[in-house]
């Protein structure tokens, strides 16, 4: 059974912003900046899935929410190419090919196949720049 998560999580203030509670939400305009400085524990506490990849699509962060949905542990997917081996359902022009863009902040409705069950989700694709260290795929259950 999937643990009930809080709707938002207190989060370190991104550089350049006033200090204080900065709840991180799926649609937060500054979410990418917050994700960049988040610890693995903070990512695990989020109420939506977070997949952190390098610019080649190699997974280097897979939070608990996403792991629970997919049935795949972080240990199993970290180091693997996300679009080809972890979630081939995203390996098309709607998702994977979008990350070829220099920068990206796009949301779209999609259908994942968690444990073979078609599951409506809302995806958010995030990439700061071609020189960024990471890019992110966020998953919110519809």
């Amino acid at each position: 059974m999937v643990r009930r998560m809080r709707e938002s999580v207190d989060f370190p203030t991104p550089p350049g912003q006033a200090r204080g509670a900065a709840p991180m939400e799926f649609r937060d305009e500054h979410l990418l900046e917050s994700l960049t400085v988040a610890t693995p524990e903070q990512l695990d506490a989020l109420p939506f899935g977070v997949v952190r990849m390098d610019l080649h699509g190699i997974v280097d962060g897979y939070n608990r929410f996403e792991s629970d949905l997919s049935g795949l542990s972080a240990e199993r997917v970290v180091g693997k190419p996300f679009f080809e081996q972890v979630a081939p359902c995203t390996n098309n022009y709607m998702v994977a090919e979008r990350f070829a863009e220099d920068s990206l902040d796009e949301q779209l409705d999609y259908v994942f196949t968690y444990r073979m069950k078609p599951t409506k989700v809302r995806l958010r694709l995030l990439k700061a720049s071609p020189s960024a260290e990471h890019q992110y795929l966020l998953v919110e259950k519809s």
Binding site: M1, V2, L72, Q85, V111, T113
Partner: protein
Amino acid sequence: MPTASIDHEEFIQFLYQCPVGIAQIDPGGGITLLNAKGSQLLMPHAPRALLENLFDVLDPHDPTLRGLPSTFEGYGTLCEHRVVRVESPDAGSPRVQHLAFTLLKIGPETIMAVFEDVSRVVAAEDEARDLLTTAAIESGRSELAAEVLHDIGNAVVGIGTRTATLLEDSGWPELDQLGKLGAFLSLRAEELAASLGAKKAEALARLVGEIHGALDDRRRRTEESMQSFTASVHHIQEILNLHRHYARQNARGLRERIPLRAIAEDALTIQASALEKRSIAIERRTAPGLPKLSLDRTRMIQVLGNLLKNACEAFDACPAEAGRTIVVEIAPAPAGPGVRMELRDNACGFAPEQAESFFEKDTSTKGRGSGLGLYHCRKVVEAHGGTLVLRSDGPGCGASSVLTLPDTPTPEPDHA
């Protein structure tokens, strides 16, 4: 929170990475299970990002699939490898895929759908069909061309013979007689003046002299025209002979070892009028000691002819200027045994990023000739193991067609 066992996790990952789409559907098409590949293939074609019913996704592309479960009794295969052409609903940039579906009834209310992307296979089959069609058309065209060329050749031979006869019989005895009359009148000027009067005698001699001069001038111009006409007839015969030679070769479809330069010269002869009409000079640069290559003579003359024609037509888009030149450079291939040929013009050129678009099938771009022609040219060159690229540094910088052909052994001909 559930913790997946390793076995369970491995099983899930196995299904996630299955290279074909698998779905479990009910007889109405409702999707109850779907693997990752299935989602990857179907999502781009799912209207409004809804993936609840397989037939809802496929109805716009093949509505007959929906009816299969109701007409099928028992268990087994409802359809096998049914290829459906699907187009994504994004009107801005429609994407076409060919998905092959196999539907298996595995329970009273359960159907397994297995599907895969066969777009490449379909494209390869289309290409093979095109090639067969092209080959058949070319074969028929060659036979027809050979017959037409033969008939035209006979007619041209008749014209040539008649022209030669006319040139040989170009004596103008009446003109000679008129000349003699003029000389006689000059010689007898005093006697004529005595009988006709001085003015009339002078006028008569002048009239005869002017008629003779005018006719002589006309004779000279006629002979010049006849000589030019004869040269043109010879040129037509030369081109006809070349085409007849290539048409015969085309019917045989053989490769032979020949110098690329020889084919280039034939192509230049065939394109001579196009070059002359545009006042384009040809500059030949041929390295010594180049090997003969194993070539399909007919196909290669089509390639070189097409490249030359494109280079000629590129000048049509430029303002008429002096110094129009096409450099035909033939040299050893830069890597490995073979020959590199470059046709370099100083016409209008193009943006470098456009180069590959000229080779797209069914693409035609003004100023660089027919896209269909270049598509087939590249196919012919690749069938010889070579490469064909277009290059330009940009508009106004001219352009090059670079052809590289390897020196490979001549294949044994097929004997039916």
